[in-house]
């Protein structure tokens, strides 16, 4: 009885730890300054045992932090030295290789002491608006140009904040108040986690986390291995080519499913790019692992044991294993394409599970506004940095259409345009679905979106583009058609590039169309009723309904009539 009962107690404690890290993450959202954290959920939080093994992690908008966070605390323990870890300490870094992949993510770790004894660690990460250097974008040629580098070090030593460090940070970034505010928010977030853990340990009479850690890790390991064991053994390769900065990049993976592990080997992938779209291995691993977990073991929480069977290999200084000092600011672009690449391989071993290719990387851009320089600017004209996150369409699934304008694999949210327009003198003229952009198929790809961006009277701006799939749209699966590619141009017709900083003069706008997801299965097999529904809703045009899906003229006329009457089909 005692043994069984303790299992019930451990189940309760496991749930509690997950709730503790969710609270930890919530505290960060409430107090953060960067829009990327507070509006879009680009953050992460977790709890660890004394060995640095992750026991629980909050489910936030960023699969990219999953493995990076799992590995980070061990780096902190090694760099700080166990003998130097004392109550009241708070550690910090933005090391792309020992944190979460670029200088714009600050990771902070706090040791948790209970009754004078180290019992574990709390860690959290957030994407901050600016870290100095060239600003957030792909234009740097090395990590040295991308901003201030903070090696793993103490932010607070036994409770005393390092003022020298704070002054160095303040002196090197464009938005010092907000960054320091965010660093405090990160520290607060760990503190909240620590308080809840202490309460839990008191309630259950625990003096350490060894028992609960063993319970969590053993159950997770067993559940994950059961899932892997149930898969067909085999090996398959997949690849995908995307735009890159100036030259196309090919991502290639060979997946090997063994009895107790899955290896993702990226041999054959392109080398480093000259610009900042390279990806450290830890971030690649996170998205490879995320893709596999979605397909194989979606409900098993992330921790050291449930992540361990997913192994990764890649050639050094390939674009998915960029080493110092490669520029990595926009590592998310390559990272977000990793799942589609992994699925190209997995589909050959496990058919009928994974989706067709989608938009992949988020369709983000940053606008740097300033008073016009070609003529006298009106009083009140200002400088401002505005960052937005947007999504194209996701790929069609074996039994469902792709999702319209919805992020995958990233899980971040967009910002309301009314909030964006309060952040600076930017005007979003259009943000709506892009008809005919979803690849045709038995299941249709998700629609991309149109956006149109300008500045308020009296301003000009630099437009920092972070788009892909201009020349390489999402490819369909099982006969499904490709999604529509990204397009970008000025409203006067002047061409613009998918990546990099580009000037937009006073009065001009940037006209954007974000990519659609690809289709799954052949279009001719699509249920006629759903083709008609899509036509009535304007997801597809009469042309596409006729050419791709074979609707007759009479059928189209009937649907058009219903549409005019506001009838759904």
């Amino acid at each position: 009885m005692a043994e069984t009962h303790s299992n019930v107690a451990y189940q309760v404690m496991w749930n509690r730890l997950i709730s503790v890290v969710e609270e930890q993450a919530q505290a960060l959202v409430r107090t953060a300054f960067s829009t990327s954290v507070r509006e879009a959920g680009d953050l992460s939080a977790g709890v660890y045992d004394t060995h640095g093994r992750m026991l629980a992690q909050a489910v936030t908008g960023t699969p990219g932090h999953v493995n990076a966070m799992a590995d980070a605390v061990a780096h902190f323990i090694r760099r700080i030295g166990r003998q130097n870890i004392i109550d009241g300490d708070v550690y910090i870094t933005n090391d792309p290789w020992e944190g979460t992949g670029h200088l714009h993510d600050i990771t902070m770790v706090t040791p948790s002491f209970h009754d004078g004894r180290l019992v574990g660690f709390f860690a959290c990460t957030a994407h901050i608006v600016d870290i100095g250097g060239r600003g957030f974008g792909a234009d740097a040629a090395s990590v040295y140009e991308e901003g201030l580098y903070i090696p793993i070090m103490k932010f607070a030593d036994a409770g005393a904040v390092d003022d020298t460090l704070v002054r160095i940070i303040r002196g090197n970034v464009r938005e010092p108040d907000q960054l320091i505010g965010d660093i405090h928010a990160l520290a607060t977030c760990n503190e909240i986690g620590h308080r809840r853990l202490t309460a839990m340990m008191t309630e259950f009479g625990l003096s350490d986390l060894d028992g609960i850690a063993a319970f969590i890790l053993e159950n997770s390991r067993r559940a994950t291995l059961e899932r892997i064991a149930a898969l067909p053994r085999g090996q398959a390769s997949g690849d995908m080519t995307v735009d890159g900065f100036d030259t196309p990049i090919t991502l290639k993976v060979t997946l090997t499913i063994e009895a107790d592990r899955i290896l993702s080997d990226f041999a054959g992938t392109s080398g480093l790019d000259k610009k900042g779209i390279n990806c450290p291995l830890v971030y690649t691993k996170a998205y490879a692992c995320y893709a596999l977990k979605c397909a194989i073991a979606p409900e098993i929480p992330n921790n050291a044991a449930s992540l361990a069977p997913f192994e990764i290999a890649a050639p050094e200084n390939s674009i998915v294993h960029a080493l110092h000092p490669a520029p990595v600011a926009l590592r998310h672009i390559v990272g977000h394409f990793v799942p589609d690449t992994v699925y190209a391989a997995l589909d050959k071993i496990l058919p009928g599970v994974v989706p067709a290719e989608g938009a992949g990387c988020l369709c983000n851009f940053q606008v740097s506004l300033r008073p016009r320089t070609d003529a006298p600017a009106p009083p009140g004209a200002m400088r401002s940095e505005v960052l937005t996150f947007n999504s194209g369409g996701s790929g069609a699934r074996p039994a469902h259409d792709g999702l319209n304008a919805t992020a995958f694999p990233s899980g971040v949210m967009t910002m309301p345009i009314e909030a964006t327009e309060h952040a600076g003198p930017v005007i979003i003229w259009r943000k709506e679905l892009r008809p005919d952009s979803g690849g045709a198929g038995k299941q249709r790809g998700g629609l991309g979106q149109h956006m149109e961006v300008g500045a308020r009277e009296g301003h000009e701006f630099d437009f920092q583009a972070m788009f892909d799939r201009v020349a390489h749209p999402a490819r369909g699966r099982r006969g499904g058609a490709s999604g529509a590619p990204t397009t970008i141009a000025r409203d006067d017709g002047a061409a613009m590039r998918g990546k990099g900083k580009q000037f937009v003069a006073h009065g001009r706008r940037v006209v954007l169309a974000f990519p659609g997801g690809a289709g799954y299965g052949v279009a001719a097999e699509r249920d006629k009723a759903r083709v008609k529904r899509d036509l009535a809703r304007g997801y597809i045009s009469p042309d596409v309904a006729a050419v791709d899906y074979g609707l007759t003229e009479d059928e189209i006329a009937a649907v058009e009539k219903a549409r005019r009457l506001g009838e759904d089909i």
Binding site: M1, Q11, V59, G181, E418, R564, G566
Partner: protein, 691 residues
């Protein structure tokens, strides 16, 4: 109002609860909700309680009504044929949502469909900027052409939502004018009136929801008024709104979206009233029924309110899977945990409970109506918390063997546990789920629950409240009488109130006292106007609130202002008030940053009824023990001999020491071995920690 005869009516998913109060004495009944014509159940229930009280419908002085009809119409998509007219370029705001997935690991996730499919969303050329200035003026002829087209399609209701209209509503009003002219039979809702707040997705969705349910609710309220009149009722009927106050029937018909979740709001008002009686300033209300549990923080005898909430969650009650409605609302968490919630074992060999529910058919396994999966009620029965002979006053016999079989086949056999341990595991998981929801809600509000008193009501709450208190470190639990019809009683305690608010951004460094004073005055007269329509003579109080944050943050905290602070505003006071509250919530302030105000709100309300204070009675006598039974106790992880006491026997000062069960027809109060219970003068049971 104390001496008058008042009727409270709550239409719930299963039952319509009716309470009549005459000279402070309550008469209540529960009748089955009649979906086709909900007014029938009300008329039926009204006659029942009138008969019990010996009055006729014409004697009733006031009727207060709350209902889930608005919520259900949104969940079940039973609204009217509705069109949206919006700004060109923004046709798909209600469909694109936040562009994210609320469940990240489900490759087959589908997002909820918007209330209106794309062909019912129309656009017009116009634009207002973030300062409320016109960037593109509206062309009336273009609007007329568009409305001519819309009129062809036979819409019953039209929603109007334009970008930045919360700052400047001129264009929305122009569209409304044209629609009124060309579609005289259509109902019109404009976003600047329904929900004048920044963030287009929430505002557009709210105005669409309002328009969508307006014809239905208007028709229902009209019929109800007619039926009541036919039955001899002479008084006015008022509606409970989601913010915990009462509005006129006319206002409710105009803004029916404000009726969403009015039932649970009544429950919170009920708990607030008990809190006032006992002078409790920190209360956690816990309402647990058949399918969900609702948890709400009540500080200083006022339920916490919020400006946005989510209705119709489509995916295991998961945050983000429903639709946001931004209206003044009592802030509560609702989770899929009730007596009927079903348990299973997942891939991790973890017990999971809910949100799937056995409902009333077939019901939990113990009902013996064909249910073969274990529900929370089955666990409660096996653990000895329920008496199989006397459930629901003996009207539903319970079958313990069925419960044990269900628990074993679904949990015990997989996890190698006996029926009792399986039952305890199930109960622990559901209690922990509720405790976690309460904890997260508390931390979001910067509160420490160990300082709180719990007030529990709803059929299943008294069975679980004791364990919840242990888990949350709460020392005192009050279980009021009438717990089964708590929401309807709450309606009778609610004041007339209306909250008006506006999004206007202002930094403290650009503090404009004249503009602030004008804005707050305008909001005050708007809110007061609504309340004055309900009561021509009562005093009307105004509560002023501003939502503030450091410039650059995304989440505001509400700051209360006195009338004096609102009418003679100064920046230093605003800053001091903000910093005090911020430090309390998050530990420390951030130096050197500007502070901004984003939302302004005025709540006009009639004064709360004066409550008769109750002094907590100490133990004076030992309650009469009606018997004993074996009951599982978490402290010893085993069955203990527990006293059984009838609730009627818990007179003032009567004490029973746990483990014990206090039984009544509607529910059973479980007193764990760590607690003792004392009867109170007003019929409440006070359950407190020993020692």
């Amino acid at each position: 109002m104390q001496s008058s005869i008042r009727l409270g009516v709550d239409i719930g998913g299963t039952f319509t609860d009716v309470v009549l109060e005459k000279a402070g004495e309550p008469f209540s009944t529960k009748v089955l909700t009649t979906y086709a014509a909900p007014e029938n159940a009300i008329i039926d229930g009204m006659h029942q309680v009138c008969a019990k009280a010996g009055v006729s419908p014409s004697d009733i002085d006031q009727i207060i009504h709350g209902t889930t009809l608005a919520t259900n119409a949104l969940i079940e998509r039973r609204g009217a044929k509705t069109a949206l007219i919006t700004t060109r370029g923004f046709r798909d705001v209600i469909e694109m949502r936040t562009e994210s997935r609320f469940e990240q690991y489900d490759l087959n996730l589908n997002l909820p469909e918007p209330l209106l499919p794309r062909q019912r969303r129309y656009t017009v050329t116009e634009r207002i900027d973030a300062r409320g200035e016109v960037l593109i003026a509206m062309d009336r002829r273009e609007v007329e052409t568009l409305v001519d087209e819309i009129a062809q399609a036979g819409y019953e209701s039209v929603a109007i939502g334009l970008i930045h209209s919360y700052l400047n509503d001129a264009h929305e009003r122009l569209v409304a004018e044209v629609v009124a002219e060309k579609m005289p039979d259509a109902m019109i809702s404009i976003s600047a009136e329904v929900s004048p707040q920044m963030r287009e997705y929430e505002r557009f969705n709210t105005v669409v929801a309002n328009a969508y349910i307006k014809p239905l609710m208007k028709s229902y309220l009209g019929r109800l008024e007619g039926r009541l009149s036919d039955e001899g009722v002479r008084c006015n009927t008022f509606l409970m709104h989601s913010g915990g106050g009462i509005i006129s029937l006319e206002s409710a018909a105009e803004f029916p979206v404000r009726l969403v979740e009015s039932g649970p709001a009544g429950g919170a008002v009920f708990a607030a009233h008990i809190a006032a009686r006992y002078g409790l300033n920190k209360v956690l209300s816990f309402d647990m029924g058949g399918t969900t549990a609702k948890i709400c923080l009540i500080k200083n005898q006022t339920p916490k309110t919020s400006r946005v909430f989510e209705v119709a969650r489509t995916y295991r009650f998961k945050k983000g899977s429903g639709m946001p409605i931004s209206i003044p609302v009592i802030d509560m968490v609702e989770i899929g945990a009730g007596g009927g919630s079903l348990a299973h074992v997942d891939a991790l060999r973890q017990i999971r409970v809910g949100p799937e529910s056995a409902g009333s058919e077939p019901g939990p396994a113990c009902y013996g109506r064909g249910g073969d999966r274990p529900a929370v009620t089955d666990a409660d029965l096996v653990l000895g918390k329920l008496d199989p002979e006397n459930f629901a006053g003996g009207s539903i016999p319970l079958h313990t063997e069925n419960s044990k079989n269900a628990l074993m086949s679904e949990l015990g056999e997989t996890l190698d546990m006996d029926a009792a341990t399986s039952a305890f595991g199930l109960a622990e998981v559901v209690d922990e789920n509720m405790a976690n929801a309460a904890r997260v809600h508390a931390v979001e509000n910067g509160e420490d629950l160990s300082e709180y008193t719990m007030i529990a009501f709803g059929g299943a709450a008294p069975l679980h409240a004791g364990r919840l208190c242990e888990k949350l470190g709460v020392d005192r639990l009050l279980v009021p009488p009438g717990a089964g019809v708590g929401s309807a009683i709450g309606f009778l305690r609610a004041p007339f109130s209306f909250e008006a608010n506006r999004s206007v951004y202002m930094k403290l460094s650009d503090f404009d006292a004249v503009r602030i004073q004008a804005l707050l005055s305008e909001l005050q007269s708007e809110a007061t106007g609504f309340v004055r329509n309900c009561d021509a003579t009562a005093d009307i109080l105004s509560e002023f609130k501003v939502y503030m944050r450091y410039t650059g943050q995304g989440w505001e905290i509400p700051i209360g202002l006195t009338q004096a602070q609102a009418m003679a505003p100064d920046a230093a006071t605003f800053e001091r008030l903000f910093e005090e509250d911020y430090a309390k919530l998050f530990g420390r302030t951030v130096q050197g940053l500007d502070v901004e105000i984003t939302v302004w709100s005025v709540n006009a309300t009639t004064p709360q009824d004066v409550v008769t204070p109750v002094t907590l009675a100490g133990a004076r006598s030992v309650a009469t023990i009606a018997g004993h039974r074996q009951m599982f106790d978490p402290a010893t992880s085993g069955f203990e001999k527990a006293a059984v006491v009838l609730r009627d026997g818990m007179t003032e000062g009567a004490e029973v020491s746990g483990p014990a069960a206090i039984t009544e027809d509607e529910t059973t109060i479980i007193v764990l071995s760590s607690r003792r219970a004392i009867g109170q003068p007003d019929g409440c049971i006070d359950v407190i920690a020993k020692g």
